[in-house]
């Protein structure tokens, strides 16, 4: 049994069929219920969570038709016009719905009817479930239902009861003129039986408004004169941004991706997009991201309409950058990345990302800096000496040994010969066989220093006679400070 707070203390919100058999009913006080059934188990009702769950279910029900919404505290409304045949007719569709809800542990009462009101009434007050009501049988099917099935509020229902009108049939028997005149003062639909009757019987249209997320914000400017030059476009852009950022601020959102579209006089459009690393709604910053791209807009004979769409939105807290509320001239690092990316492209603004690998060029790679950095496990063990700079890709070189297979004595790289004075190695790095071809050769890395103190990180690829190719080759892979 679930409880909610009533006017005089907690009352029963809902109860199990077993409890109902002992004479308990919704709306009864808790002390009365305990008197009738002392062993009753009581839990507080979570109305808000129920409501949220219902909205979630309404979204889930989009699998059957494109228009769904949660109705009141315990109902879902689906406008299946035009979609029932996809499920093999209304009967098959209702059966599919009932079984689908049963699978997630919910028992439902389903009804399909020509009008929204009739379906509501049959689902809640109909004798059987699921039930399908044909359009011509609407009036007869509803005749026996109580007036409360017409979605009227309590006060109106009790008024109708006092008037002796207990069923829909009785209400229909009253002359329409009298009914309309008696209730003409009552504005809301749930207080007006005449209007509710019209809606339920389909004499007045009652469309179902689906609960959809609000469309992405868009700003639009109709221009008096067609504009061609970049200056005018950037002026319009500034105004569009002002509108759009105001709308985003109202929603508490920021844009990650924006598209500016110009509608040309001669038919056709031109658009340009830009992206930010973090959700943003600062008009100046966003205008800056567009600045270098406006030249790319082909205005033709001029734009007469311009729109600005936020393509990707993210929730964003209202941020105050400093205490005075003004711009201190300081620039956030993410904004800097945005600006650089907007001008130079995503491939140019990079962040090193380390990967769990022993192959040097794979251990640290570059990704666009505007992507969020993820945690990467690093190879364990003591840090090996590594050069500060890495040649990508490694460059072939020639190496002479003083003694066979000894340390390198002379390095020929980029057509210059360097006498190797000191060297350390080898550090052997085996190929990653799970990732590479079987012919990949191992590498023996040496740190060498030439007579002038320049330091190179070189490696020999393969061993003589390892069966994976000819003589081992040498490469310069890194330069050290």
């Amino acid at each position: 049994m679930l409880l909610r707070d009533g006017r005089h203390g907690p009352v029963i919100h809902d109860l199990t069929p077993a409890a109902a058999r002992h004479g308990l009913a919704g709306g009864m006080g808790i002390s009365d219920a305990r008197t009738l059934l002392p062993s009753v188990q009581v839990e507080p009702a979570t109305l808000e969570a129920d409501q949220a769950e219902l909205v979630r279910l309404a979204r889930w029900a989009l699998r059957w038709c494109p228009w769904t919404r949660a109705d009141g505290a315990d109902g879902l409304l689906l406008d299946t016009t035009g979609s029932d045949h996809l499920w093999g007719g209304e009967a098959a569709m209702l059966a599919a719905m009932v079984s689908a809800f049963a699978r997630i542990g919910l028992s439902v009462r389903a009804a399909a009817a020509p009008t929204l009101g009739a379906a509501w009434a049959l689902a809640r007050y109909g004798a059987v479930s699921p039930v399908i009501c044909a359009p011509d049988a609407l009036s007869q099917t509803l005749a026996d239902l109580p007036v409360v099935a017409l979605r009227l509020d309590e006060e109106t229902v009790s008024l109708l009861h006092r008037l002796g009108l207990k069923t829909v049939d009785a209400l229909q028997a009253v002359s329409r003129t009298a009914l309309v005149r008696r209730f003409r003062e009552r504005a809301p639909d749930e207080a007006n039986p005449a209007r509710r009757l019209d809606q339920t019987l389909g004499r007045v249209a009652e469309p179902l408004m689906p609960e959809m997320p609000p469309p992405a914000p868009r700003a639009l400017r109709q221009l008096v004169e067609p504009i061609v030059d970049v200056d005018s476009v950037s002026q319009v852009l500034a105004e569009l941004l002002k509108d759009l950022t105001a709308e985003m601020e109202r929603r508490g959102q920021g844009a990650r991706r924006l598209r500016l579209t110009g509608y040309r006089v001669d038919g056709g459009t031109a658009s340009v997009e830009t992206a930010a690393a973090r959700a943003n709604r600062d008009p100046d910053h966003l205008a800056r991201l567009f600045r270098d791209r406006l030249e790319g807009l082909d205005a033709g004979f001029g734009f007469e309409v311009m729109t600005l769409d936020a393509l990707v939105l993210e929730e964003m807290e209202a941020l105050q950058w400093d205490l005075s509320g003004g711009d201190s001239g300081d620039l956030d690092l993410t904004r800097l990345i945005d600006r650089l990316t907007a001008r130079l492209g995503r491939d140019a603004v990079l962040r090193p990302v380390e990967t769990a690998s022993h192959i040097p060029e794979r251990a640290s790679r570059f990704r666009p800096a505007d992507l969020e950095a993820g945690e990467v496990p690093r190879p364990k063990g003591p840090a090996k000496p590594r050069p500060v700079r890495l040649l990508r890709p490694p460059e072939a070189a020639d190496v002479l040994y003083a003694v066979p297979d000894g340390p390198p004595a002379r390095l020929v790289w980029r057509r210059q010969t360097h006498r190797v004075v000191r060297s350390e190695g080898p550090e052997r790095i085996a190929p990653e066989w799970w990732r590479e071809r079987s012919t990949t050769r191992l590498r023996d890395y040496y740190r060498v220093e030439d007579a002038e103190g320049r330091r190179y990180w070189i490696y020999r690829e393969g061993l003589p006679g390892d069966g994976r190719g000819g003589a081992p080759r040498w490469f310069v892979h890194g330069l050290d400070a």
């Binding site: 140019a348 251990a363 590594r386």
Partner: protein, 236 residues
């Protein structure tokens, strides 16, 4: 294998009273953030190490380089940067195609006060890099308090507004503690050939990794170097 130790003396060491006339060497590193230009030879990464040794640790770094510098001198390599106290996770690397874009990116980056340093690398002598641009970089670096380093490869020392202009080449490394045949800690010959607020000079620099500190010692051994820093020009 023989290791010659040069007669060197630490700058920070107090001079003995009765000794010979001390060669007064002012501390060559700037106390406040400014633009420094570092000239390097193409296959000599001493400039990289010298620059990284001056970057204050623990803050993000923006490193801008043009395509030629990336190809010829190599890409900054995260695991190796750790050896200079740089956290690669806080590095933003910008590889621009043109020198003008490198300079533009550096200017933009200098607006960001949370950075530890802005490093730029330019190969050759592009037209975009003129006195005006360096002046702008210098002013921006001083205004934002972010040190800015401009590393130049294969370049002549033309007019520049950099507050300090260095020439850095590698020297034979320090002896390795365990292996006499292995390269040890790096040492660089650093020549400050033009400075705005201090006397030019030549030093031998080494990097103290644990303390993240550059140690300078006066390089007196080489007479050619000793007479080199003759000109000093102060830019208004």
């Amino acid at each position: 294998m023989s290791v010659t130790l040069l007669p060197i003396r630490r700058v920070s060491e107090p001079f003995s009273k009765g000794g010979a006339a001390p060669r007064l060497v002012p501390p060559p590193l700037a106390k406040s953030a400014q633009l420094a230009e570092v000239f390097a030879q193409s296959r000599d990464m001493g400039a990289t190490g010298f620059t990284l040794a001056q970057v204050p640790p623990g803050r993000p770094i923006v490193w801008v380089l043009d395509r030629m510098a990336a190809q010829q001198a190599g890409w900054p390599y995260g695991p190796g940067l750790r050896g200079f106290g740089v956290d690669p996770d806080r590095l933003v690397l910008v590889c621009a195609r043109r020198a003008a874009d490198v300079l533009w990116s550096m200017e933009e980056a200098l607006a960001c006060r949370s950075l530890g340093a802005v490093i730029g690398e330019i190969w050759g002598m592009p037209k975009a890099l003129d006195f005006t641009v360096t002046k702008r970089l210098a002013i921006r670096a001083e205004r934002s308090g972010v040190p800015c380093f401009l590393i130049r490869y294969a370049a002549e020392e033309t007019l520049s507004a950099a507050r300090r202009r260095w020439r850095v080449t590698t020297l034979a490394s320090a002896p390795h503690p365990f292996d006499p045949r292995a390269p040890g800690a790096p040492r660089w010959r650093t020549t400050l050939f033009r400075a705005r607020d201090t006397r030019p000079g030549a030093w031998e620099a080494s990097y103290e990794r644990q303390a993240h500190r550059l140690d300078f010692s006066a390089a007196v051994s080489d007479p050619v170097l000793a007479e080199e820093p003759a000109r000093q020009q102060v830019w208004g």
